[in-house]
Symmetry: C2
Subunit: 310 residues, 2 copies
């Protein structure tokens, strides 16, 4: 069993009120792979330039992640993003995006990547995502991320792509935008009607919600006293969520999906504790298990009969 | 045992993208009383004007709520608020506030209201709240609400008032503003250091979080397909939360506080289903119990051992 992820591998410059990092390994596929590799073998598909450092390739390969399909484009430059977060880390401004080798990226999946049981289509142009989906006809569970840009300029293509996946993982504001429904439950139902059987609404510091035809599950974010850099939290969440499902052979009954949410939430909480991939790169299995148990404690309550007045 | 609430009794004009209501019963004390009266005897302290209708007084008296200390000011006008909500119901604009009899409100508590075991100080000028607190020296559990206005113009007084209560119930954005801490856990710890032993952060559509010295608990809002009018949701939550604790004789161990959060969340979810007090006014005990059980289902997950890769 393995998980294939197709998406960006990047260098990020990030500024927050609490510090800055000039150049660090980032990108959706990177964050996803670091998280998902705790659960299953990961195969990364994405382009890098000549400037991509060997030690960053080594980080990508953590826990045996295959970089066979990481394409090094001669003369090319690795995708670069420069962003800055506001005081409460909820607002972020993009100062610079240099697509570099990502601009003309045409994902070419090797035989092994095409045969993965589980596929994660990180945020890219939806036509490209659909092309990858077609290269993996046998995948038993395909999850998709996207962003407001594609809703703005390529909504029809995005809706077609959504129609060919099992699970959409999107920020809740983007779910509202996509469906023009301000209500989360209604928005999720619209997406379920487009094809997927699972919708995950990422709610940033408030956690995430899971909506299927039969169930609604919500989990708060793990409460941290110090959040340093939110970059990559969503992809790390997806790595934990999709990776957990992959390790369960793509099973997706309600109980399994809920556990996957807990692992995604736990992984994401580590990601934001330090800049870039630093914290997750040295994370241990024990720490993950502990945080999942903490999440149970944080959300658990026992009802007890109370006499209500009439 | 009884709960005394001191706060506004109002007429509201509310516009949302889904409808409008020209004039309806509202106010913090009203919403609180309707919710809390499911759990315990409520005593309302607040002023109304000549224009206050008898049938609205009857609604206040639902489930035996005492209006003995509702002061009818001759020649006065009941507090009036006119607000409008945006598309996603998260943003709201105040078009008009006519304080009326509320402007010179000096709460006078009768003997019975002063001897309540539990006291809720709804959002009013913090000096006035402190005056009421002093009238109830024997209350075993005192909870406080406030708003951004008082943080802006009367922060010192508010902090003094916070120092004399057991529980602060505040919107999470206001907690950040009050403490100048963008991080919720840090903000809550600052408040705990001011005196209270319990902090509740209201997070609107995302639910609410409970922070004590020993524990963190978070509960999502009940997922509704249709939200009509969020006005009063916070006070209805407080009514369920504080009312539940009052029915437990002011007990506030961790398990009891968590259950109180669930009852507050359930009550608030009914409040927003229709304009003003309409939905809660005809609510039944069975419906509340059912929604609390739903909240358990919505938040429950079982961990199961998963082999993590090293």
């Amino acid at each position: 069993m393995s998980v294939t992820v197709v998406g960006s591998i990047a260098y990020d410059r990030v500024e927050t009120p609490f510090g800055r990092c000039e150049r660090m390994l980032g990108g959706a596929a990177t964050h996803f792979a670091l998280a998902a590799s705790f659960f299953d073998e990961v195969r990364v598909v994405g382009p890098v330039g000549d400037d991509f450092a060997d030690n960053d390739l080594a980080i990508l390969q953590t826990r045996g992640t295959s970089t066979e399909d990481v394409e090094r484009v001669p003369g090319g430059k690795t995708f670069f993003w420069h962003g800055e977060y506001g005081w409460d880390l909820n607002s972020r401004e993009t100062h610079d995006t240099q697509l570099g080798v990502f601009e003309h990226f045409e994902p070419k999946l090797g035989e092994a990547s095409r045969s993965s049981d589980v596929l994660f289509l990180a945020n890219i142009q939806p036509d490209v995502q659909r092309g990858v989906r077609e290269q993996c006809p046998d995948a038993r569970f395909v999850a998709l991320d996207s962003m407001n840009l594609w809703i703005d300029i390529a909504r029809d293509s995005l809706v077609r792509t959504i129609g060919e996946v099992d699970c959409l993982i999107l920020n809740d504001a983007e779910l509202r935008q996509l469906t023009a429904k301000p209500n989360l439950v209604q928005a999720a139902r619209e997406v379920l009607a487009m094809g997927p059987s699972v919708v995950v609404a990422k709610q940033g510091e408030y956690g995430a919600a899971l909506i299927t035809a039969d169930a609604f599950f919500a989990l708060p974010a793990y409460p941290l006293e110090s959040v340093v850099d939110p970059t990559g939290a969503g992809d790390t969440f997806a790595g934990g969520f999709v990776g957990y499902l992959a390790a369960q052979s793509g099973e997706r009954d309600d109980a399994t999906l809920r556990r996957a949410m807990a692992y995604g939430t736990a992984l994401a909480s580590f990601n934001v504790e330090e800049f870039g991939t630093k914290r997750v790169a040295r994370l241990t299995s024990d720490e993950i298990g502990e945080r999942v148990r903490d999440l149970q404690r944080i959300t658990h309550f026992e009802d007890a009969p109370v006499e209500l007045r009439a």
